[in-house]
């Protein structure tokens, strides 16, 4: 079963890193490509379990939606929240440019 799985290529790992917003280096790509392929090979045996008619479990304990009373409660002081931010301007989070030049 696991042998039929296509190997994960270096380009595919580069694509995954891009999707995950990780600016990985070339050296890391070489390392991760091999390691991720081994890990995926080991977990691929999950496909061996015949489970077509088995319902999935997302949480161990059955969950119900929880409502609370719609009451106004104090929130954290703005300065406390902004204190941990890497950059602040005019009492707000300052972010880098969102649109690139090509847009």
């Amino acid at each position: 079963m696991s042998d039929e799985r296509p190997t994960l290529t270096r380009d595919e790992v580069a694509h995954l890193a891009q999707l995950a917003r990780l600016a990985v280096t070339d050296d890391e790509l070489d390392l991760f490509a091999g390691q991720l392929d081994v890990i995926l090979g080991a977990v691929a045996r999950i496909g061996d379990v015949a489970a077509a008619d088995i319902p999935p479990t997302s949480h161990a304990v059955p969950l119900q939606n929880v409502f609370r009373a719609d009451e106004v409660r104090p929130s954290l002081p703005r300065e406390d929240v902004l204190a941990g931010a890497p950059a602040v301007e005019d009492s707000r989070f300052r972010v880098p440019q969102i649109l690139g030049e090509e847009e």
Partner: protein, 507 residues
Amino acid sequence: MTQLHELDAASTAAAIASGEVSAIEVTQAHLDRITAVDGDVRAFLHVDTEGALAAANAVDEQRSAGAALGPLAGVPLAMKDVVVTKGLPTTSGSKILEGWVPPYDATVTRRVLDAGIVMLGKTNMDEFAMGSSTENSAYHPTHNPWDLSRVPGGSSGGSAAAVAAFEAPLSIGTDTGGSIRQPAAVTGIVGHKPTYGAVSRYGLIAFSSSLDQAGPFGRTVLDAALLHEVIAGPDPLDSTSIPQPGPDVVAAARQGARGDLAGVRVGVVRELTGAGGGYQQGVLDCFRAAVDTLAGLGAEIVEVSCPNFDYALAAYYLIAPSECSSNLARFDGVRYGLRVGDDGSHSLEEVMSLTREQGFGAEVKRRIMIGTYALSSGYYDAYYGQAQKVRTLIARDFAAAFTAVDVLVSPTSPFVAFGIGERVADPMAMYVNDLCTLPASLAGTPAISVPCGLSDETGPALPVGLQIMAPAMADDRCYRVGAAFEAAYTAANGFILKQISQLGAVR
């Protein structure tokens, strides 16, 4: 005379309540112990000397004012750095949060402080709790007090090592796939993973939300139960919190300590006893002796088969990375933590990628990418979807077993503590540490690890853990059977931590 840092939590609390010692003296004794040994052990990322002494002073003042003290008032504790603490640095073992000081307390933190427990500081851990050796900490490895060249297990390795090295009688860990139980086993202490939902996750920096659970470490089963009682219970701030109060684990530990297990049915899990190899013989020998001890206490021993446990490793290493790839998306360099490349020439998206690249370590990146892969369209059904179905099958195995037995037992880990650096190059060699602990994680059921002997198979004598698993919301069974075993083991062999030869630990 026994020194203050050698007392267990229950005795410490009693001595403070009776006025025999002050909370300040107890806290200072532990701060002195940290100064003496933590240069070798490196269990802590941050020690809060001032805050601890102030908290101890408050307990002493309450006592002299005649106020009623909680059962652990004045007892020191070490907090895993994944738990947020208002005003105290919290990094989750990652560079991406270096220097972050949270503006709020986790519910676990709040309950610990409200109980008058004295928080000594924050303990080292694998980055974002991903690992089984604490070597994935972005700061430094932690050393096992039994042999400083070895790992203390993980991911809660700092919390386990602090308790084993007598730097604190209690600590908090978190367990996603075994991160309380496995470090407890390899450092010779007690660690319990509560039923999923028994302890609030509010303020725990999330790794795998459907699996993460905080729990207690102690040097005795009773100490762990006393701390469990403090942190457990419904919390409106966590939507997965179980709305009913849990069982009385302290009473269960006291009952167990009387040593009678007549009428208790104990199931030995065939799939977790090394039939297929991969377990150290010394571990299996200790486990077999532990089962004999339980039988000697009157328990009925039955062999039980849980065939789907064989797929737990594969299911876990799909579910946990999938959830982590989503949870760790919050580290985007905007609201807290590190930001890299914000020089006016990079877009937000580029800054995000540069920040995450520099802020995350190798294991975190590997898991984020595995999770991204497993959740991508075309693979979702084959990987994440299938893993969730296997989770159902594992829960059914547990349910079937618990119709025949009251608790299940296995070794906590297939191995004793291994050498620092020995397994870092091979992720799969690290992952198999969790073989025995993963089924209870996936099923959300409670499980405890209690020391059950020493193995010198790999060199010096090193501790082995006995895992005791129970049905959801029956954590009391873990404590009862654990305390009974502990009493019998200690009567026959003495207190296991007295055999630590390094650090000049205990006399």
